[in-house]
């Protein structure tokens, strides 16, 4: 929950805003609106009803504001373009049409601020709001500064922040100065700067800087969430007098931020023009949209050998919930369903301690929490503090069992002490650790030695680095060090790519694109901002600095790219041998296989191709295999044989690609498609075609996969429908 906001933008629409200045090829207004649209669309994106926006136009043809209506003087050419209210897509669209440069310049900027202030006062009354007025102008039209002190006082009284961003305003801090500035503009800048300085809460800046800073991603602040508030124990306080209990609170320290989710939509079927509104969810009014959301309808089927297609529909009302135990389904009544859930009670208890040296980060399973003592509890403060410092001094971590609240699954957390020496913040951090079931034992050969078949250890081998290579890698690693590579404002060496500079590229790219599209629906999407790609490659300067080490490493490594087609061409295949090296083909030699049996189709097909010396043998093998596939489909009871037929096809396809004979496969498959779809293979076999052949990527072999294919990618795609 964030605080309520009321922001009024005062936008200068004077005729001079239509001109381009200082070498820019966009008008002052377009330039300034880059900033304003970005701000407003960010507010729209947040989708909060309590973040309200109003817009006042300065130097408009018309005059439309409360002060002028009351007959006050000095409020000409100021129009309220949008009263304060929640910002929606339709208000954004409306606003877009009214932001146009006028042919006048008679409005007074300070009067416009008064109009905005009055709007805010009326809207927010005395309630808790963050109040803000943002003025964007090029400062070309005259300003009367007589009342500026009064205005500043009123802004301060009402607790309103004033932000003035000027096009080509001078800003020595940022380092911008406009040459040949007109006297009147310089004077206006002075008046506005003075006004801002009189405000308790004011910002005065130049548009160049504001636009430049738009590229820096803004991070959505999230209020800390308390996940746990209760005792951290050592021992069991219910059973043992000695047991220790410290009252702690646990918050999230890291939590993965997600990109906005995309919805699945279709063109609105009741589309009656852009003005029609329709309700999508119960409570969200989706106004003026040409799209509507897609709903999902579920139907349920069970296997039934007597039904056509082997399946029949069942009513949802006739279904119970259950779990699968292997292939057996175990139905549960609703009351029984909870039995499989382990009963747990909220608790946080230490299992024991481990030395820091026996832990490595990569076993972390997820996000970090932060643990502090309960507030206003001296025993907890002192107790937790002692634990933190003791762990730190003996270089240990604690391992604890954590149940967030009654009924949740227990987790094992590693507790790491942060004595607050560097950051002045004493706490424990925690990370989740894996359970036994979470570890899969995969075997890999050793990296620093090679074992031969006979069990000997070899230390020099083409898979092992030579001493030269080791040295080259070592020098390379040292040369590419990032720890002091960057420098701060004072030129001091600091770490390059620290975490607070790593922005999630996807989140910020998508948000940016959505905002752009909302403001300007017809523009193409922009490429990602440079700042989002900053760490996608090593810094140029570092590569330059480490050039000699990199070159030395390239020499020592002797990496060779394997040519794309080196694998498995005809004749090049080495015969595969068992551990003993026995030549099985020689065993087969006498009784060379020429026919393929359905039972042992895959091995026999492969073996014929491996020893085939002419194309006619291959053609014969393909023909036989093709017949086997057709027979499997033809004889299949429902879909029983489909997987097997698909596997045979897959092997055929793979082998023919390797032999560079894609035409044989494509010809066969074309015939098979016809047979399947015409019902020639004993009834409706479309499931075979769509679920196994198309979904299994067993379609025509296109030129993407085999250069010698005569089938283009498009043809292959068309064939698959």
């Amino acid at each position: 929950m964030a605080d309520k906001e009321a922001t009024v933008y005062v936008v200068d629409l004077g005729e001079s805003m239509a001109d381009c200045h200082n070498g820019r090829d966009e008008s002052d207004l377009d330039f300034a609106m880059r900033y304003v649209w970005d701000k407003i669309s960010t507010t729209v994106a947040a989708g909060r009803k309590t973040w309200t926006v109003g817009v006042v136009g300065l130097n408009t043809e018309e005059t439309d504001n409360a002060q002028d209506n009351e007959g006050l003087e000095g409020y000409e050419h100021i129009s309220v373009l949008q009263e304060i209210g929640p910002m929606t897509m339709s208000s954004l669209r409306h606003l877009r049409s009214s932001i146009q440069p006028s042919h006048t310049h008679g409005g007074d900027a300070i009067s416009a601020i008064v109009v905005a202030l009055d709007m805010i006062e009326t809207f927010t009354k005395k309630l808790k709001y963050n109040r803000k007025i943002i003025l964007v102008t090029n400062g070309m039209s005259p300003i009367d500064d007589e009342l500026s002190e009064d205005v500043a006082n009123r802004l301060n009284e009402c607790n309103v922040e004033l932000v003035v961003i000027g096009v080509d305003f001078d800003d020595p801090d940022y380092g911008f100065k406009e040459e040949d500035k007109s006297r009147s503009k310089a004077n206006n800048e002075k008046i506005l700067r003075k006004l801002v300085e009189q405000c308790n809460n004011g910002i005065f800046g130049t548009m160049q800087q504001a636009v430049e800073e738009l590229a820096i991603p803004r991070i959505k602040p999230v209020r800390p969430f308390k996940a746990y508030d209760g005792p951290l124990t050592l021992g069991d306080p219910e059973k043992y007098q000695s047991a220790l209990s410290i009252h702690v609170e646990r918050y999230f320290k890291t939590k993965r931020a997600m990109a906005p989710p995309a919805s699945t939509v279709v063109i609105n079927p009741e589309r009656g023009g852009a003005s029609q509104s329709q309700t999508l969810d119960e409570d969200t009014e989706m106004g003026g949209t040409e799209f509507s959301g897609v709903k999902h309808m579920r139907s349920y089927r069970v296997d039934d050998p007597d039904a056509p297609g082997g399946k029949r529909d069942v009513e949802f009302e006739d279904l119970a919930k259950g779990y699968q135990y292997g292939r057996t389904v175990v139905p549960f009544s609703d009351s029984d369903l909870s039995v499989t859930k382990l009963e747990t009670t909220k608790s946080f208890t230490i299992l024991g301690f481990i030395p820091m040296s026996s832990y490595s980060k990569f076993i972390n399973m997820g996000e970090t929490g932060i643990i502090v003592a309960q507030k206003y509890n001296e025993e907890a403060e002192l107790g937790l503090s002692a634990l933190i410092h003791a762990l730190h001094e003996v270089e240990s971590y604690a391992v604890a069992r954590y149940v967030q609240k009654d009924g949740t699954q227990p987790q094992i957390l590693l507790l790491k002490p942060n004595p607050g020496i560097e950051d002045n913040f004493e706490c424990l951090y925690d990370v989740p650790l894996p359970f036994a079931e979470d570890v899969r034992s995969y075997q890999f050969p050793p990296l620093d030695k090679v074992l031969t078949v006979t069990g000997n250890v070899v230390k020099e081998h083409r898979l092992l680095p030579s001493d030269d290579l080791k040295q080259a890698v070592s020098d390379f690693v040292d040369a590419m060090d990032l720890s002091g590579f960057d420098s701060d404002e004072e030129g001091k060496a600091v770490e390059y790519a620290p975490i607070d500079e790593l922005y999630n590229p996807v989140i910020h790219r998508i948000n940016q694109a959505i905002r752009d599209r909302a403001v300007n629906p017809d523009a193409p999407i922009r490429p990602p901002a440079d700042i989002l790609l900053r760490f996608s490659k090593p810094p140029e300067k570092l590569i330059h600095k480490a050039k000699s080490e990199i070159d030395a490493l390239i020499d020592a490594a002797e990496i060779k790219k394997v040519p794309a087609k080196a694998q498995g061409r005809r004749g090049r295949k080495e015969p595969v041998k068992p551990l003993s090296g026995l030549d099985i083909d020689a065993l087969l030699g006498e009784t060379k296989r020429t026919t393929i049996s359905s039972d042992n189709a895959v091995p026999e097909f492969k073996q014929i191709l491996a020893t085939a010396s002419d194309d006619s043998t291959i053609e014969s093998a393909v023909k036989q295999m093709g017949e086997i596939v057709r027979k499997l489909i033809h004889d299949s009871f429902a879909n029983l044989n489909y997987a097997r037929a698909a596997e045979n096809l897959r092997v055929m396809r793979e082998e023919l690609i390797a032999l560079e004979l894609p035409g044989l496969y494509n010809k066969y498959l074309t015939g098979l498609k016809k047979s399947i779809l015409s019902g020639e293979l004993d009834g409706d076999r479309r499931e075979m075609w769509f679920k196994h052949i198309i979904a299994g990527h067993l379609g025509l072999i296109s030129q993407d996969e085999s250069e010698v294919s005569e089938v283009t990618t498009e043809e292959a795609k068309a064939f698959a429908t």
Binding site: G322, V329, L482, Q607
Partner: protein, 644 residues
């Protein structure tokens, strides 16, 4: 953690974690067929001794126990994978009696005890009966007078795989035998077995041999099995993993030895991605494969069961997409859009794709840092393991090995930009080395040696926790606590996950198994994650008692000094310090302590708080702060009553 929750639909865009390379279109499932030798020597009971550690199992019993354990683990960890048991050398024969296709005579002395399929509760039950109760009503464990032909056994396995697991990505035949020379010098029999083994190889079936040796004899591979066993298809070139012989002795029973050998092959090695380019520098690229050896295992989701038939049946659900007029929508009509300001902002499919494209899949190094520069809180997600592959760049392995050695020596980590698959979200990772399993200083002797891609949090993922927690200076309390910490190390002074099964998961499957097998539901679970309270009391109880006494003393002193300070401040009329206990100022209501809230409830002064103050308090307790004042008050009151 959304178990039992069918409406679990997190919009997590890159949770397609297990999704495999598109090129890898074979069904990524695993089928394992155990082929267990039934012979007099396999059935031989070990000699009875006094020693507790001595074997109590015959070789066949050990093998069957392994298979039973394997089956149970498989149901939990790999519920979609198949398994079967083929006994060979049996007097009886059985192949596919149920489907009536072939009679048993096709494969004499081969008895297919469990069909190759996802196991049913019945399969578990009958295997358990054979293993635990030694019930063998069908007398399947009676060896034949003549040995089985190995060619026949292998072809039988071939047929089982061809028909039941036709397009499985991983198919493995586990042979458990104590006979290193089944056909002696019979050349014809040996040759035909070798030919059948080649068939299996061409079919894509990997043969894993688990030899058993008795009484100090060695199992001589060269006599027969060297002609049968091939190198693992999935393994890299030149990396024989070796065949480990199981035997009893050295305090390890035959059963444990066999279990440990089979467990190491439990999970089929599935790559998460392959042939990823690892760009070390411009013009220096090697290729690596990625694996996920760490993955959070969750209980299976509930399913819908149809009870209308004789047997409970799984109902398969199908979804169709419909629009607001409930017209079925074709896939080509569907578009992706984002909700924005009450409307949909829409992108063309190619635009939507380009938004996620940051330059294709790659692991690109940007430099190195000392390991100590990674903040200890910088953790968001499990890591990915990478290992070199020579398939695309010859020489990858030696460069990878040199890098791995250097990072270990220098205690450094790489920093890299990582996109796992086309269109996967880019992440920044630290590249951290793991030591070899047999290295005594390894932090993780249960994980392989290689490099890990450890995801770093983005700035967007870091929460600011704004609490005043200034450090205190260590004192006697710290000293005493130090003794406690030092006396309570976990076994072997490390956290070994293999010792801590997940209690929720274990309980779930225990209950489920009991229900499936129609047995009584278990009373309680042996939960290894519950601390050994008695031991804690025994080992550090004395220190803890002393420490607590000291703590109470110190705490009351601090409390007093704070009270004094506050009085002084109040007297001077200065601003109240933030941590004050008495009558906080209005602006400070969000910071109210529980005790103050309780007092306010009792004195009925809660309703004097403004809506803004109430919202602050609720938010700080992690309670929903949405609604009218009356609702907020009610929620806060309820919370106070429940909590205190």
């Amino acid at each position: 953690m959304a178990w039992g929750d069918d409406d679990d639909k997190r919009p997590d865009m890159d949770e397609g974690e297990e999704e495999l390379d598109e090129a890898d279109y074979k069904t990524q499932k695993d089928a394992v067929l155990f082929a267990i030798d039934v012979s007099p020597s396999m059935l031989q009971q070990p000699a009875a001794t006094e020693s507790k550690k001595a074997d109590k199992d015959s070789a066949i019993a050990a093998a069957l126990k392994c298979a039973y354990q394997f089956m149970q683990q498989r149901i939990i960890a790999q519920p979609k994978d198949m398994m079967g048991i083929l006994l060979f050398g049996t007097e009886k024969s059985r192949f596919r009696d149920e489907t009536g296709g072939r009679s048993g005579s096709g494969y004499p002395h081969c008895y297919l005890f469990t069909h190759l399929d996802v196991p049913t509760a019945e399969d578990v039950k009958s295997l358990r009966a054979l293993v635990e109760e030694g019930e063998d009503p069908d007398e399947v464990l009676v060896p034949a007078k003549e040995p089985a032909s190995m060619a026949n056994v292998l072809f039988c396995a071939n047929q089982v795989f061809t028909t039941n697991a036709a397009n499985f990505g991983s198919r493995r035949l586990f042979i458990i035998t104590d006979n290193d020379s089944p056909h002696g010098k019979d050349k014809a029999a040996n040759s035909s077995a070798a030919v059948r083994a080649k068939d299996l190889y061409d079919l894509g079936v990997v043969i894993e041999l688990f030899p058993i040796s008795h009484g100090g004899q060695t199992f001589d591979m060269s006599k027969f099995y060297d002609d049968i066993v091939y190198r693992d298809l999935a393994a890299e070139a030149d990396s024989p993993e070796g065949v480990k012989t199981s035997k009893s002795g050295d305090g390890i029973s035959l059963l444990n030895s066999l279990i440990s050998n089979i467990n190491s092959k439990q999970a089929p090695k599935r790559a998460y991605f392959s042939n990823l380019h690892f760009e070390l520098a411009p013009n220096l690229t090697i290729s690596v494969k990625g694996y996920l050896p760490l993955h959070r295992q969750q209980p299976a989701r509930t399913c819908y069961v149809w009870l209308g038939g004789e047997q409970a049946q799984l109902a398969q659900s199908e979804t169709i997409k419909v629009d607001s007029t409930t017209r079925t929508v074709d896939k080509s009509e569907v578009k992706k859009a984002y909700k924005f300001g009450g409307e949909y902002i829409h992108f063309k499919p190619e635009e939507a794709a380009s938004l996620k494209n940051f330059g294709g899949k790659v692991l690109r190094l940007i430099g190195f840092k000392p390991r100590s520069l990674l903040p200890m809180w910088a953790s968001v997600k499990k890591s990915t393991f990478i290992f070199p592959s020579e398939e695309q760049y010859v020489g990858s392995t030696r460069v990878f090995s040199a890098l791995w050695q250097k990072l270990l020596e220098a205690d450094k980590v790489g920093i890299a930009w990582f996109v796992a698959r086309e269109n996967a979200n880019p992440v920044m990772v630290a590249i951290i080395p793991s030591r070899a399993m047999d290295d005594e200083s390894s932090e993780t002797p249960y994980l392989p040696a290689g490099l890990w891609l450890y995801p770093l949090p983005f700035a967007d993922d870091v929460r600011t926790v704004d609490l005043a927690m200034p450090p205190r200076t260590p004192d006697e309390l710290t000293d005493k606590m130090r003794t406690i910490v030092q006396n309570l190390h976990l076994p072997k002074a490390m956290y070994n996950p293999l010792k801590y099964p997940n209690p929720s998961l274990q309980w779930h499957y225990k209950v489920l198994q009991a229900m499936a097998l129609d047995e009584d539901t278990p009373e309680k679970l042996d939960d290894a994650t519950i601390p050994k309270y008695r031991q804690i009391d025994k080992r550090v109880g004395g220190y803890l008692a002393e420490w607590k006494e000291l703590l109470a003393e110190k705490a009351s002193a601090v409390m007093k000094s704070r009270a004094l300070k506050r009085e002084a401040e109040d007297d001077q009329g200065e601003g109240v310090s933030k941590r004050t206990k008495a009558a906080p100022k209005r602006a400070d209501k969000g910071q109210l302590s529980n005790a103050q809230l309780k007092a306010a409830l009792e004195q009925d002064t809660l309703k004097k708080m403004t809506v803004a103050e109430l919202k602050d308090v609720l938010a700080s307790k992690g309670i929903s702060a949405v609604g009218k004042k009356a609702e907020l008050l009610e929620r806060l009151e309820q919370w106070i009553e429940e909590t205190m």
